[in-house]
């Protein structure tokens, strides 16, 4: 593909439901990142995958949040028992090692 692809583009869910967000990185990129951005705010680091190394999960805000990545391909971010404060844009990016990151267009999550 030409770039990082995220799906869905928008997601509205009811409080308490689980959601799964998907990220397709650029082929060959070893690094993959997830960030959360609340309205008018900066990017909050969530999790980082680098090749087959153990992921850096230091940014996950609670145990309701988890992410997986199979090898150097697709990643999914799962939020269980969603809360209204989870409403935000979730951004995924991929990168070749020690170089610029390429971002997807994000998933706008709204919890009602």
């Amino acid at each position: 593909g030409a770039g990082v692809s995220q799906s869905p583009s928008n997601k509205v869910t009811e409080k308490g439901k689980d959601v799964e967000l998907r990220c397709d990185p650029i082929s060959g990129h070893t690094a993959l990142y997830w960030y959360r951005q609340r309205l008018g705010q900066g990017l909050e680091f969530l999790i980082y995958f680098q090749g087959n190394s153990a992921p850096d999960k230091s940014g996950l805000p609670s145990d309701r949040f988890s992410a997986e990545r199979t090898g150097e391909s697709v990643s999914t971010l799962t939020i269980q028992r969603t809360q209204q404060e989870d409403s935000a844009v979730y951004l995924c990016a991929s990168s070749p090692y020690y170089n610029e990151a390429f971002f997807g267009q994000g998933t706008r999550l709204t919890v009602v």
Binding site: Y35, L39, F45, V89, L91, A93, Y97
Partner: protein, 113 residues
């Protein structure tokens, strides 16, 4: 946690003027990057400067890096209305194999026609 801190938080200028944004960070870095974001969605990479570099140019963009002061600046010359966006700096810590990319809170630039 935030690594880079941009200054100012918001900047409003007239078309044709130059815009300068600053970024300060706390740790030793491998490189520092600047990104632009339009309409609160995906970010676009602008320029990367490595810790052994002091200045870099790309078109109307000029980035400087002062590792002794742990700071960087982004200069946009001859600004255009289309430059209106949020600008973020991001750092990669030096050492190890962890390439976590940490962003600041951003500067909102408005270029008035």
């Amino acid at each position: 946690s935030q690594q880079g801190e941009e200054d100012p938080q918001a900047l409003s200028i007239q078309e044709g003027e130059n815009a300068t944004m600053n970024c300060s960070y706390k740790t030793s870095i491998n490189n520092l990057q600047w990104y632009r974001q339009n309409s609160g969605r995906g970010l676009v990479h602008l320029i990367l400067i490595r810790s052994n570099e002091r200045e870099k140019h790309s078109g109307r963009l000029r980035v400087t890096l002062d590792t002794s002061k742990k700071s960087s600046s982004l200069l946009i010359t001859a600004s255009r209305a289309a430059d209106t966006a949020s600008y973020f700096c991001a750092t990669v810590d030096s050492g190890g194999s962890n390439y976590k990319l940490t962003f600041g809170k951003g500067t909102l630039l408005t270029v008035n026609p």
